[in-house]
Amino acid sequence: MKIMSLRKQTPSDFLKQIIGRPVVVKLNSGVDYRGVLACLDGYMNIAVEQTEEYVNGQLKNKYGDAFLRGNNVLYISTQKRKM
């Protein structure tokens, strides 16, 4: 199932599509969060489930929901999990 397509797609369309998928969220500080995207809003505030926090190596595991404030988010990317 391809998300990338040649037709014009607004960022908000992409955000609607990726809900429920495993994602990688990188913050401005460089910290990495991997988990399943529960929901997000127009400010890029994010709720992620089963989150793992990566700074160089693995630091903390967060179970349940983790909320990330939108202004800290550098990018949200989908990932193909092989775990």
């Binding site: 913050l27 500080s29 529960a38 929901c39 997000l40 809003d41 505030n45 994010i46 709720a47 989150t51 903390k60 967060k62 179970y63 349940g64 929901d65 983790a66 909320f67 990330l68 404030r69 202004n71 800290n72």
Partner: protein
């Protein structure tokens, strides 16, 4: 019986639909709701605007943590654990029975090893300004 051919476009999603409307009299006017009802994509857009309880925002999920203990990660290597009494859209928060942890890294001049130190303090009632907040989660379970 009169037939009207209507081409309509949703101004937000730009999807178009062509429809034929039958009416008894030539003066009948078409309401926007009537047109929207025939475009499934546009109907979805209207639905999302009026019934906001179907799509929950991250802030709605924080609301579920009210009066619960939470863990807050902040800028400048600070962490808070406390009871969430109130919050707003900026993530300004009122926390009760808070323990603040400040983590610092000292680098030894000779050995160049990193020494992690954490300083804790307890605050009975705290107002947190939202722009310092990075992450909000239920308290971490060690192990």
């Amino acid at each position: 019986m009169y037939a009207a051919l209507v081409l309509c476009m949703c101004i937000s999603c730009k999807s178009t639909s062509l429809a034929v409307y039958f009416c008894e009299q030539i003066e009948h006017t078409l309401s926007p709701q009537g047109i929207l009802g025939n475009c499934s994509k546009m109907a979805d857009e209207v639905e999302q605007q009026t019934t906001t309880n179907t799509v929950e925002e991250p802030l709605d999920l924080i609301r579920l943590s009210l009066d619960e203990r939470i863990y807050v990660k902040m800028r400048n290597d600070r962490e808070l654990r406390g009871r969430l009494n109130a919050y707003d859209q900026h993530l300004n928060m009122i926390l009760g029975d808070v323990e603040e942890t400040v983590t610092t890294v000292e680098i030894d001049e000779e050995t160049y090893e990193e020494i992690y130190k954490s300083t804790k303090r307890n605050i009975p009632m705290l107002f947190v300004r939202g722009d310092g907040v990075v992450l909000v989660a239920p308290p971490l379970r060690v192990g």
